[in-house]
């Protein structure tokens, strides 16, 4: 591991941590504009996190240590995930320790812990949320893996930096398999980040909640960590999508500092466009019933399998 690689690693991790709440703020702002509402401040998520850190934590009487450990584990898993997804450059030494399958494993680790924490208090909403989260996850996780497999088959590697290196270097051509995979990935991202049409991040209507139902009992610093981890998850998914489907502008291995600096505005621009697209999707669609979610995610899964089949049959 050279010092440059290490610095690049730290820089990208720091950027992810710093920019993640901003992305959420940007999406909220876009959505407010699209829905003819007056927009909240772009920096509101940062203020929320700071406010939550200042408060006294209230923990339920019957909470076990799992409840208090879970936010840290979720946050840790999301940080590790952020460390292996190339956002600015592919100089990521940590990327050798965990590949795409491990990335999905890290997401699953976070999901299992938050679901266990939700069941820990023993309230009706907590276990309802945990059940629904695992229910969404059991279809979203294979679909995500199949999308990543398609990319791995094209590039001949499961390591994310290598995949992005290959994708960034190849000539511009339309890969039918990637088109299928892209649609599947978009659907999975919506479901995994608790977005409309599967979940509604703004809702507090009990019967429709998934993610919010699980974290009802959390407060103060625990809630702050969970909120930060959720925004980090959204950031990770966005960067993963950018890295897989729009890798132009990401500094390839050994490109040096100038490429790193040049990649930052490109990334911000791509995230801004992506965030606007997400807000548009959320404005145009309605939340579906929980039992429609399997159809939605089943479609994503089938598209992802189709992508892999197309890749094997056409070799592209």
């Amino acid at each position: 591991m050279t010092p440059t690689e290490f610095a690049s690693q730290l820089l990208q991790l720091g950027l992810a941590l710093a920019l993640a709440p901003l992305l959420v703020g940007w999406i909220n702002q876009c959505r407010a504009w699209l829905q003819n509402k007056s927009a909240p401040s772009l920096l509101l998520p940062y203020r929320t996190i700071r406010k939550l850190f200042m408060k006294d934590a209230v923990v339920a009487l019957q909470a076990s240590p799992i409840f208090r450990v879970a936010p840290y584990v979720v946050f840790g898993a999301m940080c590790c995930a952020a460390a292996i997804i190339p956002s600015l450059a592919t100089d990521l030494p940590f990327g050798r320790a965990a590949d795409t399958i491990a990335l999905v494993g890290l997401f699953a680790l976070a999901r299992v812990f938050i679901a266990l924490a939700a069941m820990d208090i023993g309230t009706a909403f907590g276990s309802l949320g945990a059940r629904r989260e695992m229910f969404v996850g059991f279809l979203a996780e294979p679909a995500l893996l199949m999308v990543l497999f398609t990319a791995s088959l094209i590039s001949g590697s499961t390591s994310l930096p290598t995949i992005v290196d290959v994708f960034a270097h190849r000539e511009l051509a339309i890969y039918p398999s990637l088109a299928f995979a892209g649609v599947a990935f978009a659907m999975v991202s919506l479901a995994e980040n608790a977005r409309i049409p599967v979940d509604n991040p703004a809702t507090h209507l009990e019967l429709t909640m998934i993610h919010e139902a699980m974290i009802l009992e959390y407060s103060a610093r625990h809630l702050a960590l969970i909120e930060w981890a959720s925004s980090l998850k959204l950031f990770n998914y966005s960067c993963l999508g950018i890295a897989l489907f729009f890798p132009v502008g990401i500094g390839v291995a050994g490109a040096g500092w100038t490429a790193l600096v040049a990649a930052a505005p490109v990334l911000v621009a791509k995230l801004a466009v992506g965030g606007f697209a997400l807000a548009l999707v959320e404005t145009l669609s309605a939340k579906m019933r929980i039992f429609r979610a399997p159809e939605f995610l089943g479609t994503a899964f089938l598209l992802a399998v189709l992508a892999m089949l197309v890749n094997l049959l056409l070799g592209s």
Binding site: C80, I101, G122, A124, F135, G156, M308
Partner: protein, 666 residues
Amino acid sequence: MSDNALGLVIAAVVAWIVIGALGLVRPRELRFVSHLLFPLGAAVGLALAVVAFFALGQLPQSTVLPLGLPDLPFHLRLDSLSAFFLLLLGAVGAAISVFAAGYFRSGEGAAPGLLCFEYHLFLAAMALVLVADDAYLFMVSWEAMALSSFFLVTTDHRIPEIRQAGFLYLLIAHVGAIAILLCFGVLQGGSGDYTFGSMRSMVLTGAWPSVAFFLALFGFGAKAGLLPMHVWLPEAHPAAPSPVSALMSGVMLKTAIYGFLRVTFDLLQGQLWWWGVIALVLGLATALFGVIFACVQSDMKRLLAYSSIENIGIIVAGIGLTILFKSYGKTLLAAITLTAVLYHALNHAFFKSLLFLATGSVLHATHERSLGKLGGLIHRMPWVAWLALVGTLAIAGLPPLNGFVSEWLLLQAFLFTPSLPQSFVNMLVPLAAGALVLAVALSAYVMVKFYGIIFLGRPRESNLAYAKDAGWFERAALSFLALGCVVLGIFPVNVIAMLDPVNAMLIGSTALHADSGNWLLLTPINADRASYSPLIVLIGIVAVVLLTAQVVHRLYHGRVRRAPPWDCGFPLQTPRMQDTAEGFGQPIREVFDAVFRIERQLPSPFDTAPKYAVKVGDHLWHWLYLPLARGADALGRLVGMIQQGRISVYLTYSFFTLLALLFFVR
């Protein structure tokens, strides 16, 4: 020591039999049996594991024992494959024996000494199965294994359901044993020599290799719980005492995997690609079936039994892929796949035994197997709960624990399937990979349900407040197994180096090679294609967690207030408002509605005492087993018609039989 490893294995078998027999001396003396004999058995198991570990890389050793029938002595052989499974048996068996030392109580079913005898006979029989080198000894020890475990399953034989479960187990074990016997009959190829050595050199022609393969798949599949012979698992595992369930699920199922590998890769020369396809499809069907059924169970041991079916399915699918690769001459990939298979077998032995033993502790503390009457045990039984958490995360396939490593390896093998000659097979591979990841993702659902409902939340019954944590023997055993899950997860390169002699023996290639990196980084093909380092992932997560905790507590404050739960401001909460096991499984039941046979009893709106009941059954039971049973009954009645009960009629039958024989023999 390594010169006479086989002698030491035989000594271990004899020691187990002697320990078992000592149990019969004073069968009712609980302290003698549980504080002396079971720990002794554990020590023997540990010694066996050490011997097997050192024998793994050694050349095969064989010997002939002058036992058995005249002119038909017992042949024994210890090679890498046997050594690997002996290691699994010894290590996991030792932990289970330690647990059993603290588990068995007097006044529960059979006398402790009798249990001790059956238990150690079971261990000895499994060890003999693994070193048998002729069909005769193999079948004798296979039957001894089936019978001793049958008696262990029916420990509480006064309960009719347990007797029924035992009968079903015995029946399927014997149907399988017949298939295995026939398989050996095919393998000896008319030479009349039933030693494995002669079977190895026998070249079968025509359809005979396929016949032998499918008899092995059926026979060993019946023992392992492959579809459609899985029905005994969810009946026998809940019926048996928990250490026995752990031993059966963790170790005995692996002897079936051993037998299947032995016949397919060692005794049969040359494998055909379509065997692999069939094993792959059957394995994946079993995996999906098992995990979907596990989602809807409400008995904790049944849930684990279905989860075992799932894991066996994954293992058999991996074997199918190995056959496929080997038949096309892709030895490196075949070695990686076989590594994944053996690794998963080892992992499953550790985490499934851990979870079964944990359910045993819960069962003793609460006398309750139904998930709907448990809850909140993490407060009452912290040792069991935290150790079971390790097993839960491992079986859910989460990094950096051991379940993830074997799944990672298997997925790598799927991903790097080169283009195979058959386009049909090429199309199958992505579908199979999809089915595999679906099964793995569902197993996380199952394990959250299992752990969350038993250990988290609030106690659903008032008597749970008196539950006591497990004793020291049980804690030691659970800690050992949990430690195994962590070590197997963190040091995959060392484990694979340990497994490689088996690959070299069965495939002719090793999974690790010159450029496969260092001990820190697992790189099955080369570093550019894939690499994984659980230790770094673990350090990464732990570092972030500790750093965040430090920063949060330094910069802000660590104040915590305890208060009643908020739950959206609803004040009248009772523990009954938590999800039940049925509730947690309900989404899966809705989605996979067609897979289940659901009998529902719904109350009408006017019921004064409404009652809701739902029973989730298995279609195969009604489509396959009941018709078969009815057919057997009808056949029995037909045969019964010639039974008149008068001696003259029987003499007439004998007369005609003699005439017929004379006619044929002439």
